[in-house]
Symmetry: C2
Subunit: 224 residues, 2 copies
């Protein structure tokens, strides 16, 4: 129904205005300094109305994650479409991840620290984050699939998830990185990617079969 659609569209617009306002204010003034009252006021709605669309202030962050991942995906496209070397692909995707986050450094830190709580829906391991997480892992699957790489199937299978975990480590470092332009994080990416790729390639060696199997066993145990 066009009428129903109009109606829904209106509400959808209100929702969008609230998100836009909130994320802009978070970026400009920080997470804590931005009150729900201020968000509602600037968005032109009543305080309580924001709670009709978002169960809590934290839920607004989930929205940030979603947009963030979309931006990461877009920023990764060029390198994924042009490079075939694993190191180059991985490096490009990780640098893209930092790139799109840089404008949010400082306030992103607060957001991500909220995500550190295991019981929080914002946790990257929570069921609520499952779609975003799966999408992110799929991105690293593409990193691997588009590269020329000869490794045991057991390794290849687990690689996307491992690389995603690796990217989480980079983000964790980035959160703490106070260097100008977070250049240290960029250097960390540049210096660890070759090591990681070398390590992955080593899994081909017969002599290291025992170690490889051991590592895989640990990974599987950890995944539960």
């Amino acid at each position: 129904m066009s009428a129903a659609e109009t109606r829904t569209a209106r509400a959808e617009a209100t929702r969008a205005v609230i998100v836009d306002t909130a994320l802009r204010m978070f970026r400009e003034q920080g997470y804590e300094a931005t009150t729900m009252r201020a968000i509602a006021r600037e968005a032109g709605v009543a305080t309580g109305n924001a709670y009709y669309y978002f169960g809590s202030k934290e839920e607004l962050i989930q929205e940030f994650y979603t947009r963030n991942h979309a931006a990461h995906l877009a920023a990764s496209r060029p390198v994924l479409d042009s490079e075939t070397d694993l190191a180059a692909r991985l490096r490009g995707v990780l640098r893209a991840l930092v790139d799109i986050n840089v404008p949010y450094h400082g306030f992103a830190a607060k957001l991500y620290s909220r995500a550190a709580e295991p019981s929080s829906p914002l946790s990257p391991f929570s069921p609520e984050s499952s779609p975003t997480r799966d999408a992110a892992i799929a991105l690293y699957a593409e990193v691997v699939d588009g590269a020329h790489l000869r490794v045991p199937a057991a390794v290849r299978e687990r690689l996307p998830e491992l690389l995603w975990l690796y990217s989480m480590g980079i983000v964790l470092f980035w959160v703490y990185d106070q260097s100008p332009g977070t250049e240290r994080t960029y250097r960390l990416v540049d210096s660890t990617v070759p090591l990681a790729v070398r390590l992955i390639r080593l899994s081909r060696l017969r002599a290291l079969g025992a170690v490889t199997r051991q590592v895989i066993a640990i990974v599987d145990d950890v995944r539960g």
Copy 2:
């Protein structure tokens, strides 16, 4: 002055009562469910009085860390005094770390997630945490020093800090570990310690000198 001491002692006692009450209530009911008003009431002081001793609710957590480290130190003593094998020492100290934390699993998660925020004084990298951090690193220095281990000086120097970082990773995993008795974390310790020690020992090999130097360069860059 006995009078002055009495006075100070009284205040010190009040402070202690507040901490004890707070930590007990945190353990019994969780961090969020425990209000400052409730803590003050049970401790027998006015709400505002708690703020005379602790600038914020979070500051009470710092106290938890301090006690926690003391407990870790005590729990590590036996293995440090009896074992000389690096793997055994490291394993013992890491298991001790999990041991003493286990009773607090669930509420410790909230505490540690607060610590994830870089600007927070609770962050393990913050100036405020410096004493606790240094003490913890000193513990891992003892782990290394008491073991028979032949590795390059450059590696040995950086080992305590690296092992501390490793222990932080274990704690991070533990926080997310929902297995009964957090047995998965114990398994992670048992399975990764031999790998870590093997890796450390590999640094002796001439053939890996280039890699070792590269890793050390990264570590130094990261430390800033």
